[in-house]
């Protein structure tokens, strides 16, 4: 008889969600988390799309430690000395909890969700490092943590982007530098009122800003800025393949981004209170691993559930949904008393029927498009800057019609390129 019905490795969002749902269904669950507390090893740029958790814990935002509800969306094309920003603000259109998104800090948020799982009856042990999967006659029977052997009918690997246990079990390969990005972020403390004023927000409202171009030093990637209650998250995410070739280090690049004339006034007077970095799975379906094996499931970042479309970045909502679907699968398997891969493969079907794999399928060309359209990160921000400079610059020299101003600039980049990238982009994103 196994010690537990299920052991979950990792108390991030997918792991804790799975644990919570399984415990609510009456299963005995052990969660092992390597950090001193849930969330301390996790990093997010900043935003949780709430829809998937809303379905599991309706009204979660009223009790969970969310920072601000995002009502202002900004996408910026940046050159060394300019910014062109699309700014969309609407409190009412994002008011419905079914589509609301929130800035969050993982140390607080994950600890809250793990606490919910514990309340539901899970055993959560942290710090505990799951070193190996236990195997008996080729069947996975649990995990080894230090000298302790802990057994379960099924093991859920929610052990993050690298998922060394998933690699050892042969479910996934070592990460390719093209499929993974490296993110670095600073948390900069500022008074609530200052943040409200600088970003045009009321109490409780937040802004999200993504940056392409100068922020990433022209490399594949971008910058982000999210408002928390009393701090800002400022950071960069850049493909590892590009970063490896770069002569500038990520922390230095982040510093240049922070010192950009359009960013500097936003963070001015703030106090740097936290610095963190993390890998981000950005390969999409191309890096999709085997999601289950006998007595084994893969969740969240470990399964590569993440989408970067340039204008939205999602991972946490996918992780939460994958946790819920994994839990459903395990509860069904428990009912049948069958934890073989055949019984657990329903997990993949559930994901395919849910937004998780549907959305990743819809946007399956996005990672490839973003990686192979370097103009997005260099030429187009420069073009935007030149066009708007022509439009708004008045210096007394004879003026020209708009079209005449723009045409020579566009021809620098190439009309065909612009049309091609435009078409490809709208199809992929």
């Amino acid at each position: 008889m196994a010690d537990y019905d299920a052991i979950v490795v990792g108390a991030g969002l997918s792991g804790s969600t799975a644990a919570y749902c399984m415990a609510k269904a009456g299963l005995s669950v052990l969660v092992l988390e390597r950090g001193d507390a849930a969330g301390v090893k996790n990093v997010t740029g900043g935003r949780l799309y709430g829809h998937s958790l809303e379905k599991i814990i309706p009204g979660f935002a009223s009790e969970a430690p969310v920072e601000r509800k995002i009502v202002r969306e900004r996408v910026t094309m940046m050159t060394e000395d300019s910014c062109f920003t699309a700014d969309f603000h609407s409190a009412s259109r994002f008011a419905d909890p079914a589509c609301a998104s929130y800035s969050v800090l993982r140390a607080e948020f994950d600890a809250w969700l793990a606490g919910k799982a514990e309340e539901a009856g899970c055993d959560i042990v942290c710090p505990a490092h799951a070193d190996e999967l236990l195997e008996e006659n080729g069947k996975i029977t649990g995990v080894k943590a230090g000298d302790d052997e802990l057994t379960a009918e099924v093991v859920l690997l929610a052990d993050g982007v690298n998922s060394l246990l998933g690699q050892k079990a042969g479910l996934k390969k070592e990460l390719s530098p093209h499929h993974v990005a490296v993110g670095a972020k600073e948390v900069i403390e500022l008074p609530k009122g200052v943040i409200n004023d600088r970003f045009g927000l009321n109490d409780g409202e937040g802004a999200a800003n993504l940056f392409a171009g100068f922020a990433s030093g022209g490399m594949v990637g971008g910058g982000f800025l999210y408002t928390n209650k009393e701090s800002l998250c400022l950071g960069l995410v850049i493909t590892v393949a590009d970063m490896a070739k770069s002569s500038i280090r990520l922390p230095d690049l982040l510093e240049k981004f922070r010192d950009h004339p359009a960013v500097k006034p936003l963070v001015a007077g703030g106090k740097l209170v936290e610095y963190s970095a993390h890998l981000v799975p950005e390969g999409g379906l191309a890096m999709l691993p085997a999601l289950s094996a006998d007595n084994l499931l893969l969740l969240g970042d470990a399964a590569g559930f993440c989408m970067n479309l340039g204008y939205t970045v999602r991972g946490m909502d996918l992780a939460i949904a994958s946790g819920q679907l994994a839990a459903e699968t395990v509860v069904e398997a428990k009912g049948k008393g069958d934890f073989s891969n055949a019984a657990l493969s329903g997990y993949k079907s559930k994901l395919e029927q849910s937004f998780v794999l549907k959305d990743m399928q819809t946007h399956k060309h996005a990672p490839d498009f973003i990686e192979h359209t370097p103009r997005m990160f260099k030429e187009y921000p420069a073009l935007a800057a030149d066009v708007f400079t022509q439009l708004f610059r008045v210096d007394g020299t004879p003026s020209k019609l708009m079209l005449k101003k723009a045409l020579p600039l566009i021809s620098k980049v190439g009309f065909l390129n612009l049309i091609k990238d435009g078409l490809k982009g709208t199809r992929a994103l």
């Binding site: 507390a37 055993d123 042990v125 710090p127 505990a128």
Partner: protein, 260 residues
């Protein structure tokens, strides 16, 4: 040897204390409570003695909100924990803490060994061990760097300035251990899970045979401020200046400051 009590303090993690640059006040908002790191060695010694003697090992602590400490303490080896909470202990000094802990030890009855560590990471007063000895009427063996059970006696090394002293003492005794007495292992998963099944008992002042006066401190803290590090910030090697000139300036500066 039947009963060993090991004292531990539930303190704020000093690594997460922040200093307000302007007022030099300490900000404990990010600090979470934990078992005083020094006391983890006391708990580890307790486990060794329990294994050698078969005695019952009891963790004891007092403070304002110490119940959450029990699970952590129990994962480190004690058979049970007694904790005493009283709001007045927020201002406790070593005298008050010692009185409460002594009362708890007495109420446990026939404790052979009381284990303490040298200090707590918050107050660092280094008094509780010796005070407990005085209050309980037990001999105190301090600066203990090694403990061994020999029959019904304890043989201990005391690390002193002049060398190492070896002492043999029969119970009852208060033993104050140094951090180098042994490794304090990180609890394993099974130990952490097992801790939930062990008893954590609340005790109140009356249960410890004490009146409200016991928690009154003799020392009241007026303020706690972070130390101020001041630098002269003299730039000796300015633009275009030669190293030789800078060295000459440095020598002059140091001799003016009376450092040469």
């Amino acid at each position: 040897m039947k009963k060993i009590a090991v004292c531990y303090k539930w303190v704020l993690n000093d690594g997460d204390i922040r200093v307000n640059d302007k007022t030099r006040d300490l900000d404990f908002e990010k600090s979470k409570p934990q078992i005083n790191e020094y006391d983890r060695n006391g708990l580890a010694v307790g486990v060794q003695l329990k294994e050698a003697s078969g005695a019952e090992l009891i963790g004891i602590t007092c403070g304002v909100d110490t119940e959450p400490s029990a699970k952590d303490a129990l994962s480190r080896g004690p058979d049970m924990v007694y904790y005493l909470n009283d709001p007045a202990l927020a201002q406790a000094d070593s005298a008050a803490s010692s009185k409460v802990l002594a009362g708890m030890v007495r109420s446990l009855g026939d404790v052979d060994v009381v284990l303490c560590s040298e200090c707590s990471s918050d107050d660092f007063a280094q008094q509780v061990g010796p005070r407990l000895g005085a209050l309980l009427g037990y001999p105190v063996i301090s600066y203990v760097s090694a403990v061994k059970l020999e029959g019904d006696a304890l043989v201990m090394d005391r690390k002193l300035e002049e060398g190492t002293e070896s002492v043999k003492v029969k119970a009852p005794v208060v033993v104050v251990v140094s951090p180098d007495v042994c490794e304090a292992p990180i609890p394993s998963v099974k130990q952490i899970l097992g801790a939930k099944k062990k008893p954590a008992n609340a005790m109140d002042l009356a249960g410890a045979g004490l009146g409200p006066d016991a928690v009154k401190p003799m020392v009241t803290v007026q303020s706690v401020k972070a130390p101020l590090t001041s630098r002269k910030a003299v730039n000796l090697l300015g633009d275009g200046e030669s190293v030789a000139d800078a060295v000459a300036k440095l020598v002059k500066q140091l001799s003016t400051d009376g450092l040469l």
